[in-house]
């Protein structure tokens, strides 16, 4: 009994320490964002944020780039992983290696390479259609170059989640069963493979979005102003609003996570009822 309660105290201590580690900085940030030396507590940083200069523009840009990145990651990776599993299992190690490579390339190195190419390309291809492509990539309303960079950076995360999802189902048998039921390849993918990868797809999408929402280095150096860059930019003039925006961002991320977990759970209870 004594040992049992001892274990309980130990567990409580760990919880407390971990909780303090996460919550104290958050609480301080919240306190800072609502502090007003004259009135005591003031929520102006939160209410004023939505009308602040650049808020909407940076958010819309981030959402657009995020959606495009998710789409590109899935379009690139899903067919590749499925094909490798079905027809060339020996290539799996190679694909894994390629997908995990971005982990060891620092964002700084990546962006240095990208800027060099962007500077060199237009000069070299002046007068050819490739010149227009280089210009189009850097369109400030929709910077394709960011989508490409984020896709690269998201590959390791996406590979892990998608591969785990594929490993959890008997892909070959499901595909063959669907084919024997007169489903063509595209319909097999849409009606059998994708529904059984729902959890993995949602996870991939979420992780990729989280990455895009928090990425600063590449966007800042290439001169774009998505949400993360905007937060840093305003921190000089409006420190409280910058922290408030970070808090909102954190809250939205948590809500997304909860929704994700809830959809997974709701599905399971529905099936067992």
């Amino acid at each position: 009994m004594a040992r049992l309660s001892g274990a309980r105290y130990g567990r409580a201590a760990v919880w407390l320490a971990a909780g303090a580690y996460f919550l104290v900085p958050l609480a301080c940030a919240v306190a800072f964002s609502v502090e007003d030396p004259r009135k005591g507590v003031d929520f102006e940083a939160y209410t004023g944020m939505f009308g602040a200069d650049g808020f909407t523009g940076s958010l819309v840009l981030t959402v657009k780039v995020g959606a495009a990145t998710v789409a590109l990651v899935l379009v690139l990776l899903l067919p590749a992983l499925i094909t490798v599993r079905l027809t060339a299992p020996r290539l799996r190690t190679l694909v894994e290696l390629v997908c995990l490579l971005p982990l060891v390339v620092p964002a700084m190195a990546l962006v240095a390479g990208i800027s060099a190419v962007l500077r060199w390309g237009p000069d070299h291809f002046a007068g050819t259609p490739l010149f227009d492509a280089f210009v189009g990539l850097q369109n400030p309303d929709f910077p394709g170059v960011l989508v490409l960079a984020y896709t690269l950076m998201a590959l390791p995360l996406a590979y892990r989640t998608l591969d785990a999802g594929l490993a959890a189902i008997d892909l070959r048998v499901l595909v063959e069963a669907a084919r024997a039921c007169r489903a063509s390849w595209p319909r097999t993918l849409v009606h059998v493979v994708l529904p059984n990868l729902r959890g993995a797809l949602l996870n991939t999408a979420f992780l990729t979005l989280a990455l895009v929402f928090g990425e600063y280095t590449v966007a800042a150096i290439l001169g774009y102003q998505p949400f993360a860059v905007w937060i840093v930019v305003i921190s000089g003039s409006q420190a409280q609003m910058s922290v408030a925006a970070s808090m909102i961002g954190l809250l939205v991320t948590w809500v997304l996570l909860l929704v994700l977990a809830a959809t997974g759970r709701a599905r399971r209870t529905k099936e067992t009822s």
Partner: protein, 377 residues
């Protein structure tokens, strides 16, 4: 039994079933040869079991019919038309897999209706038909369940219903019972046979279980190393195996050393001369010349008598219910298996000397094999 799915025409198997023909199929995976010139013709409405040890190419042959594998050489004909280049989803075959293959995200009835959905059958019509099929396999009350809520046997029944839903020309069963426990296996295999006969659907059934093959197939095709050894009705396969491999793979067979007679028509074994029933191919010279041969006998044909002066000895006994299987070591050192009625087995305890006798019937003869160790248990 009348059923909405079995209309009058499908009751006459010979009119609706398709023919399937393998012509010189070759398939190699790297250095492994799975099929080495397989030839086999399956008649309309027939159930043919492909039987053989693992790695003999039986599953590869089935997957080639389904369109999941391409042969390196040779062709597959369904109703006389070459389907070798036809993609899997246009083959018009239904397949039940060894592992549970139901779509996890769909209910039983939606699983059965899946093929109809892919063929563009309307919602109400396909649900009605799927419900009918679930009834046919005895699971009408499980329509709304998901695969993980069904037992293994129930899942395979649903998979069977799904395979039958599109009224395929050929039904392919890839060891559908091997993941199930013994009792379910027995009932489901009888049910598969009943349905197959009612629907008159040409069926290929892959199995490594000879009892399964012998009990439900019209003909059993025994395969070995990518080739067909023999394809015959079960009784013929058992009584008149074409090769020594078939003889020993199907059922239990013991080898007793004997000596071929000078005319080749007789063999002297266990002190008596018996007529030779058949000469196994490749063993012709063995039976043709006066030489050392093995006589192949089934355990039920061997008679064992307790005999104090006998030269043989009983070395082990296995109780099988109605009979007891004795292993008898002959004077020459080879073992013979003998099935004796359980009530006479009491007089033949392990360790006693005995005399082994063969009935006065023609026997199968094969070339003498080195290191004779008796029958396959």
């Amino acid at each position: 039994m009348t059923h909405p799915l079995i209309d009058r025409e499908t009751r006459t198997p010979a009119r609706t079933g398709s023919t399937v023909e393998f012509r010189g199929l070759h398939r190699a995976f790297g250095s492994t040869t799975a099929l080495d010139g397989l030839d086999l013709a399956i008649g309309p409405g027939e159930l043919v079991a492909l039987l053989g040890p693992s790695g003999c190419g039986k599953t590869t042959a089935l997957r080639i019919v389904a369109g999941f594998e391409r042969p390196d050489r040779g062709e597959v004909l369904v109703d006389g038309a070459d389907v070798t280049r036809v993609p899997a989803h246009r083959r018009d075959t239904g397949m039940v897999f060894q592992s549970y293959s139901l779509f996890p995200h769909l209910t039983a009835v939606d699983n059965v209706a899946f093929g109809l959905r892919m063929s563009g059958v309307g919602g109400a019509a396909r649900r009605a038909r799927a419900a009918g099929l679930l009834e046919l396999v005895g699971l009408p009350e499980h329509a709304a369940r998901f695969p993980h809520q069904l037992s293994g046997g129930q899942q395979q029944r649903v998979a069977l219903a799904r395979a039958l839903a599109l009224r395929p020309r050929v039904l392919l069963l890839d060891e559908p019972l091997s993941a199930l426990d013994a009792q379910v296996r027995l009932t489901l295999r009888e049910e598969i046979r009943r349905l197959q006969q009612e629907l008159g659907i040409t069926t290929l059934f892959v199995t490594h279980d000879q009892e399964e093959a012998l009990s439900i197939a019209d003909r059993v095709a025994v395969m070995r190393a990518g080739r067909l050894e023999q394809c015959a009705p079960p009784a013929e396969l058992y009584a008149r195996p074409a090769t020594a491999f078939v003889a020993e793979f199907v059922g239990v067979m013991s080898r007793i050393p004997g000596r071929a007679g000078p005319d080749g028509g007789t063999v002297s074994v266990l002190g008596r001369t018996l007529p030779v029933d058949g000469t196994l191919p490749g063993d012709g010279e063995a039976a043709g010349e006066a030489g050392e041969v093995d006589v192949l006998v089934r355990p039920e044909a061997v008679e064992v008598l307790a005999d104090g002066d006998g030269t043989s000895r009983i070395v082990s006994a296995t109780f099988l219910g109605a009979t007891t299987r004795l292993t008898v070591r002959l004077a020459g050192g080879s073992d013979v298996l003998a099935d004796v009625p359980a009530h006479t087995a009491a007089a033949l305890p392990v360790g006693v000397t005995a005399t082994v006798r063969l009935p006065d019937r023609p026997v199968l003869v094969a070339r003498r094999r080195g290191g004779n160790s008796g029958g396959r248990p």
